[in-house]
Symmetry: D2
Subunit: 100 residues, 4 copies
Amino acid sequence: MALMEISIIPLGTGSTSLGRYVAEVKRYLEERGIPHTLTDMGTIIEGEVEDLFRIARELHEIPFKAGAKRVYTALKIDDRRDKEVHLGTKVESVKRYLSS
Amino acid sequence: MALMEISIIPLGTGSTSLGRYVAEVKRYLEERGIPHTLTDMGTIIEGEVEDLFRIARELHEIPFKAGAKRVYTALKIDDRRDKEVHLGTKVESVKRYLSS
Amino acid sequence: MALMEISIIPLGTGSTSLGRYVAEVKRYLEERGIPHTLTDMGTIIEGEVEDLFRIARELHEIPFKAGAKRVYTALKIDDRRDKEVHLGTKVESVKRYLSS
Amino acid sequence: MALMEISIIPLGTGSTSLGRYVAEVKRYLEERGIPHTLTDMGTIIEGEVEDLFRIARELHEIPFKAGAKRVYTALKIDDRRDKEVHLGTKVESVKRYLSS
């Protein structure tokens, strides 16, 4: 399991608001039962690394379907093979450091 | 007000675990009463853009103080001047799209 | 055609040097004739967006094959469908603005 | 010395082209004699880490001065204190691996 954070930004839409694109990203993930968390700066998704790249590629298409002519997608994948990592695991680990 | 997401990664520490560095980032922010949210992929901080860059510069120093020889800091700042934005505002906005 | 910039960072290797991993990324791209440019902060690759995600997924595996236990991959894709974009196109466009 | 890569993206401008903003970034750096390289995906700047954060903060303001209402700035800083690093150093290091 790995974690991916993805931000998908349509350019040249003439609107400073991106909420409706993020909503479609969330809808896509919910419909497929893909574990994820929305943050104020992106969407964090949990999955096998193989699946994460495939999902990223599909999410990247969302603003084009809605009419965008240029899309800027940024993602980072944290893939750890010495340990199981899930959504919430890292935040929990930090809390343990803080309370010890 | 703007939002910044920051990830601070020490390189060459010989450990795959970064939790203790993130804990120090969180401690720094708590001690100063700076509004923030920890996610599995970074720390999101709310503040005036002037302050955000200054905070980033100080957080970047944390792993060096703990002995790291190379630090890789990635951040993104989302600065909107047509509207007040706070921690949680964007996630709320997406939920409104989804329920409408 | 789109452009992707990718940085692949192995964590916990005990060395502050990443040059040998970047060299393997470059070797991979050269052997397959994939257009790319190496910069001091990442590798920029030109291709169809479909191919870029597939290449990213394969490059991400390189440090694991070399023994890394945790890999942090960051990428951004700039995909423009109103205009052909190739390696060098954007730098050229900026130079035109500067000389005009 | 450290290296910073920065990308400054105005949102909601109604144009898919960003060349003129990047041109102003380059002009800013040239006028002050700050060492930098333009790539197709960002601008790489060399400097003391203290200066890099200050420069980032000033560059971030450029699209607002040109009328943008929302700016998204992404940067990464690679700061190595076990070794002198300049523009070009890392690309050179990779070439040595490839020719050995």
